[in-house]
């Protein structure tokens, strides 16, 4: 098999998500009466990047064959904290941003530490810590409100040079400066190894514990970055359980659409980004097509099922289907 064929088959999940997104977004834009103006692109980018970051956060624990049910809560907690401390001058606001991201890292580290040293199931651990994080968010901001630093908020929620949505640039920077270095580092490769076969990874000298803790910590960082950007979109914070739940569940859907295996060891955060874009475009399609409100959830569900089925396309290129379960 030549090199490029190997690359395509290795990244088939991601490429499927990219293709799906391209098709859906083209349908959306060609039916949008304003077309692809910078304003339309920014509107789509601002809400898509939020989910893309949370989906990236979810991907990394999933790669280790775990699951992080607290990503939505970290997202909401970061939103509430940011609405309280990203205030004042631009300099103070930026320091506040750093503090919010640090909090995300701490939340993620706590998850990782409990999973590794407490030896609890990730799904139960993060269910519990998620409730705790949400509780802290509610404590910080019992009623919706807050006033963030407008200049930073308008900058991040606006366009760079009046054309490119800044949120997309932030996402690109995260991919280039966080995901790609992580993916090729021993910790990143360790995450894949642990997800494929934890015993084999251990026997081969992979730092299993470090890889797992790093995975959850990075997830906390990415989820809190999402929450920070939500704050810039809304100028305020709200401890909403509904939003936390929605983002957690949608992040798992985005991971699956992006071709990452829920059994671990296979996939990519890039795929999840496009998975998130696909999910958001499904919502946008409701804007350009006229559907009865009571049919909208049904429509979304059907499109979602089709998208996830496409994500499972690798069934077709496996000689022996038993390989799927190894």
């Amino acid at each position: 098999m030549s090199d490029w064929r190997y690359h395509i088959s290795h990244n088939l999940g991601t490429l499927t998500a990219v293709g799906l997104f391209a098709v859906m977004f083209t349908i959306y834009i060609s039916n949008h009466e304003a077309g692809l103006t910078p304003a339309v692109a920014t509107t789509a980018a601002n809400k898509a990047v939020l989910l893309a970051l949370v989906a990236m956060a979810q991907t990394i624990p999933v790669l280790t064959r775990g699951l992080d049910l607290s990503v939505g809560s970290v997202f909401v907690l970061a939103n509430c904290l940011a609405s309280a401390i990203v205030v004042g001058t631009i300099g103070q606001g930026l320091l506040g941003c750093v503090a919010v991201l640090l909090l995300g890292i701490v939340c993620g580290f706590v998850n990782g530490a409990i999973v590794v040293w407490g030896r609890l199931q990730p799904i139960i651990t993060t269910l519990a810590t998620g409730a705790i994080f949400y509780g802290i968010a509610l404590w910080i901001r019992p009623t919706p409100g807050g006033d963030v630093q407008y200049d930073i908020a308008d900058f991040v929620a606006g366009q760079l040079f009046g054309v490119v949505p800044t949120a997309l640039v932030v996402l690109l920077l995260v991919v280039l400066l966080v995901w790609i270095p992580y993916r090729s580092s021993p910790l990143g490769r360790g995450a894949y190894a642990v997800g494929s076969n934890e015993q084999a990874a251990y026997m081969s000298g992979v730092p299993v514990e470090k890889a797992k803790i790093a995975a959850y910590t990075l997830a906390g960082f990415l989820a809190s970055l999402g929450g920070l950007i939500l704050t810039f979109n809304t100028y305020s914070g709200e401890a909403s359980a509904a939003i936390g739940g929605t983002y957690t569940l949608n992040s798992i859907a985005a991971v699956v659409i992006g071709g990452t295996s829920l059994f671990g060891g296979w996939g990519s955060a890039i795929g999840s980004i496009f998975g998130a874009f696909v999910l958001r475009t499904i919502e946008d399609l409701l804007f350009v097509f006229d559907l009865p409100p009571l049919w909208q959830p049904l429509f979304q569900g059907v499109v979602l099922l089709v998208a996830i089925s496409l994500g499972a396309i690798r069934v077709f290129r496996i000689r022996n289907r038993l390989e799927l379960f190894t």
Partner: protein
Amino acid sequence: MVRRFLKVLTGTVAALSFATSAIAGPEVVSGPGVQPECFAPLSAETKFLKFPKKEGPYRIALANGFVGNTWRIQMIKTAKAYSEQPDVAKDIKELKVVSTGTDVAAQIAAIDNFINSGYDAILTIAVNPTAFTPVIKRANKAGVVLVAFDNTFDSDEVIQVNENQFQIGVINGTWIKKNVPNGGKILEVRGLPGNSVDRDRHLGIRSVLEAADGPKYEIIEVVGNWDDGTAQKVTADAIAVHKKFDGVTVQGGSTGTVRALMDAGHPFVPVAGEAENGFRKLCAENADKGLLCSSAGQSPGLVAIAMKTAIEALKGETLPQFVSVPIPLVEHPDFKADVNFFPALTDNFFNSNDFPPCGVNILATDIMGKSEADN
């Protein structure tokens, strides 16, 4: 090094955000506004806004959040029914409805999409009162009339339309005071905890019943979540414990509350409740047995007033920044079948769709005849 980096970043942020700092929008003018009997300001401090006049007919959008309870569905149907009334239809080129669920980012994006697509006015029920400041700025900049109703914004930059919830509480309390004049034991069935509507109605009721110079009432409080099932259960529980009440106030789920009275064999007493069709049916049937009702409610017809407000704003009229909509109220003995309640319709139908001061009346048959389809 870090400091220098911060400084450069600060400069960049400041330079790039400069372009967005100029804000257009409505002009703040002095009142009174157009049709003050309909568009009443919330208080004496409410400021008046005036948008530049635009030529009609207008393109109007409804950016709804949550959909999936009968109130919201009836609200969407009402919007369509109202927009098709002949004297309204001539001003409306297009009405588009989108529901985005509970995700605040999705609702912001929907409003942005309507702004980007050049709609003249956008009506919305906000999923959160504080998160819309940036989108309000963008709407004002684009010259789009944004009108929030029902769940309103914490903002004085846009026109908002709502009923005075404290006043609804006062109406409830006054009914009890009038019909239980010598004091007694009152059951208060509250709404969804933490919500401003629940708080304001509660304070309104208490302001009447706890007045120092009035009769003495012992008030038993239960939480009914504005839901028939919950209200029925908590009322039944309260009757089991307290045996007898002299009057009942209920914020929502009134049908359930009255059914609980009936099921427990509790004698009929005066009830001040919401505007559900089932409640009014029971009131009309049992009035002669002592079920004396007052029925005032948050109407899904608010959407019609919001739409009327938006149209007046687009015509360049002066309007209060916060419109306090007249409360649709029916009290015993004015319950009339097929006028203010409808025996043929479901118990969940909200009856209060008649706003005489605004010249707005949407017939139940018109509402129920509309599909809830977005278009």
